[in-house]
């Protein structure tokens, strides 16, 4: 069974601080996605990483896929209150085929205090 473990589960920081969220597995994934979810809404795709070692940047957010494609990280620089939300990682397992069903982490609930 493929699992994704996400840490930390909760994070409360001050505006301007940096933070990193981790998503780890013992399994290899063909791709990994990061989502942000607001209360009462569905997950919104932020980025997909596909290649081992890949780094993608989205403004102050930096996403990295591990060389072995078993882990990923999300780094936020100079966090702002608008970054507050639930961040979820989700992976497509090897052998998922064209279905590409997602296996999810539990999420990191981030609160950025002004």
């Amino acid at each position: 069974t493929q699992l994704l473990e996400q840490s930390p589960q909760f994070l409360s920081i001050q505006e301007g601080e940096n933070l990193t969220v981790y998503c780890n597995s013992s399994s290899v994934f063909s791709s990994l996605q990061w989502y942000r979810q607001e209360p009462g809404e569905g997950p919104v795709l932020l980025v997909t990483v596909v290649t081992g070692g890949e780094v993608k940047k989205l403004k102050r957010l930096t996403f990295q896929f591990g060389d072995a494609r078993k882990d990923s990280s999300l780094h936020i620089t100079a966090a702002q209150p608008g970054d507050t939300g639930l961040y979820l990682c989700a992976g497509v397992g090897l052998g998922a085929g064209n279905n590409r069903k997602l296996i999810w982490g539990l999420g990191t609930s981030l609160a950025v205090n002004p």
């Binding site: 009462g40 569905g42 997950p43 795709l45 064209n98 279905n99 997602l102 982490g105």
Partner: protein, 110 residues
């Protein structure tokens, strides 16, 4: 920007009743999904649908669940006889390269 629309946003039903959750996926997407999120737990895959048939389903998706795409636009999830443990947020999604999720239906079984 194209979006996935789900209705209703909230549904309260009595145990044993049938419910139908509705979704309008993005029109040119080919893959459709239902996921659910029980409060405090991980999002779970239920079923994927491609070319007018189920392409994959999870162990959760037992005989009480069914999906249909009756008219080429709507995509429905039916739960025949709801149980208390079916209470969850149900998300519909459609995909071309990337996933787009709807806002979800919060189902409460009492």
């Amino acid at each position: 920007e194209p979006e996935v629309t789900q209705t209703p946003s909230h549904q309260v039903t009595q145990m044993g009743q049938e419910v139908i959750l509705r979704c309008v996926p993005i029109s040119n997407h080919l893959y459709f999904y239902w996921y659910r999120q029980i409060l405090g737990q991980k999002v779970e895959f239920l079923v994927s649908f491609y070319n007018n048939e189920i392409s994959e389903k999870s162990e959760i998706f037992d005989d009480q669940f069914s999906v249909e795409r009756p008219d080429g636009s709507n995509f429905t999830l039916k739960i025949r006889s709801t149980k208390l443990e079916d209470s969850a947020m149900y998300f519909c999604a459609s995909r071309d390269y990337g996933y787009t999720f709807g806002s979800g239906t919060r189902l409460t079984v009492v």
